[in-house]
Symmetry: C2
Subunit: 328 residues, 2 copies
């Protein structure tokens, strides 16, 4: 490494490479700066515009179109590319890594990633698979912000080979960004995330498509009346397409398992509606309220109604004639 200074400021590393400067990569850089990390941050991305943004946002000491070039100079390498790109990136950087460099990632699927990345790296004991449970529907470095990981969980899934001291360094890094740490085995991670994240996104994408394809209802109507509930789903369905394609392809078994259960449950609800079984509906709707309270109490969502969405400002009120019914 060019800068041979010992790890400074209590971080267990002195120089960072972030491979992939999207929402998460940029937010990691911003959060680590805010946490007091002053060493160099090398940013790598295939996309020129992302690198340009990284410079403008002041989060990159150096920028690189080539991941290996960024990684060669760092002792903490953070892979923040879509899950499907983790393996090729690991293959590209493997040959140039310093012997004691730690590699970690932020992928939403851990089974496939930890298997393929471990196999591609020269020293799998220095690889710490990680997954911060945070994000937004926006993509790209300009959407990043320093508090994204604050009070969110970061799940680490060290393998049997992972060096515990490397895990400790990565855990401390996420704590410095404000996250809480959970350690899990990869299979459990992939099942827990299938139900808490992957299935919700799939359902959201699907309902937006169903609405699009209702030939009897126009897109303008769907938009106008979306405050009845639909708009909530459109947020998740606006998430990054590449990221989510890769999640579903790489967590296939767990997603299909949870989806099967969801569809079974939905068939039962459909039957209850068809046959007018009001008590069954009421009992379910009563029961599902409790989990919301648990989430709010755990600090994982706001207690404010409607997510605390900003209210529109007061507008001019005027009396106008009642419009004619829309022709259909």
């Amino acid at each position: 490494m060019a800068d041979a200074a010992p790890p400074a400021e209590g971080f267990g590393f002195s120089s960072i490479a972030i491979i992939g400067i999207g929402l998460i990569g940029a937010s990691v850089a911003l959060a680590l700066r805010e946490a007091g990390f002053t060493g160099p941050i090398a940013a790598a991305d295939r996309d020129d515009e992302a690198l340009h943004a990284a410079v403008e946002l002041g989060i990159a000491t150096t920028t690189h179109a080539d991941a290996a070039q960024a990684a060669a100079e760092a002792d903490m390498i953070i892979l923040a590319v879509p899950v499907g790109a983790m393996e090729p990136v690991a293959c590209a950087i493997g040959p140039v890594l310093s012997p004691r460099a730690i590699v970690t990632d932020v992928g939403s699927v851990k089974g496939a990633v930890s298997r393929t990345v471990s196999a591609a790296l020269p020293d799998p004991s220095r690889f710490v698979p990680a997954h911060p449970i945070a994000g937004s529907e926006q993509s790209g470095p300009r959407a990043g912000y320093a508090s994204l990981f604050r009070n969110r969980w970061c799940i680490l899934t060290p393998t049997d080979e992972t060096d515990p001291s490397a895990t400790q360094v990565v855990a401390d890094m996420w704590r410095a960004m404000g996250s809480n740490i959970e350690v899990m085995d990869v299979e459990r991670h992939d099942l827990v995330l299938a139900i808490t994240s992957h299935l919700p996104h799939l359902i959201a994408y699907n309902i937006v498509r169903t609405a699009y394809d209702m030939e009897a209802v126009t897109e303008a109507e769907v938009i106008k009346f979306s405050a009845g509930g639909f708009r909530d789903f459109t947020r998740l369905a606006a998430s990054d397409p590449t990221m989510w394609r890769d999640v579903f392809l790489n967590n296939r078994a767990a997603v299909i398992e949870t989806l099967g259960r969801f569809s079974e449950d939905l068939a039962i609800l459909q039957r209850a509606i068809r046959w007018g079984e009001g008590d069954q509906l009421y009992d379910l709707f009563e029961r599902t309220r409790a989990i919301r309270m648990g989430i709010v109490e755990a600090g994982q969502d706001t207690a404010a109604p409607d997510f605390g969405r900003p209210r529109p400002a007061a507008e001019e009120r005027h009396r106008t004639p009642v419009p004619e019914p829309a022709s259909d």
Copy 2:
């Protein structure tokens, strides 16, 4: 009417009765007060606690356990009870209504309500079915607020019998509360709302149940990691159980129709995941982004990431040992 004053302040009525003082009923009272309505508001509810809250919130001039007693004194009667209670309430108030009183409602289903309420009232020409597309996951009068309807749509579904001058008065009332007005026929309303509101709630209730019933994933895990997407659904799934039971039972055909389409689409997605058809997934995920932009541009949701949810405050950062993996 006790107070024979002409309609004041430009409202086409001088005295209001709100039957059902929940989130919507209380918000209507608050919004009309804010809009400058100074006449008496009679509040009726079967629940003593709701009436007590109405007094405390300063929104009721008089309170009544008996709907007919409240309605007898008013020339604008707003039915804000669950859809399943609309018909019995209409039967109860019908005999005591003043001849020129206007009756309107706020029910989320219009076909069943306009049929049954029209039949129960002495003069169906004075009934204007209405549906404000606004609400929150919270219930009860204390959750109400004056800006709830601002910049939201209110759909009116006048029947063939409805007197256009009554429709105009109700439209002006909703405009005074900040709403935009759309006029539709009842069948179209019930189909549009099935896809924009009823199906989203059904899906939300269902996924929360599926998560509950995953024996391999604990409730604590679902709560902890809910920020990955799941928490969004828990908001809708915390909505009032009685209201939603009644919606599904009273809009059965349209809900089952949209649900059938949703399930078909989901089966296709499941197959694409199973067979690794990444391009098909990507194409859909790309397409669904556009509708979010349309909703934001139409002012029906915030452009802020993550609904503009309040960010947790900065917390103390400390280094602690990495926890042991959770045993499962």
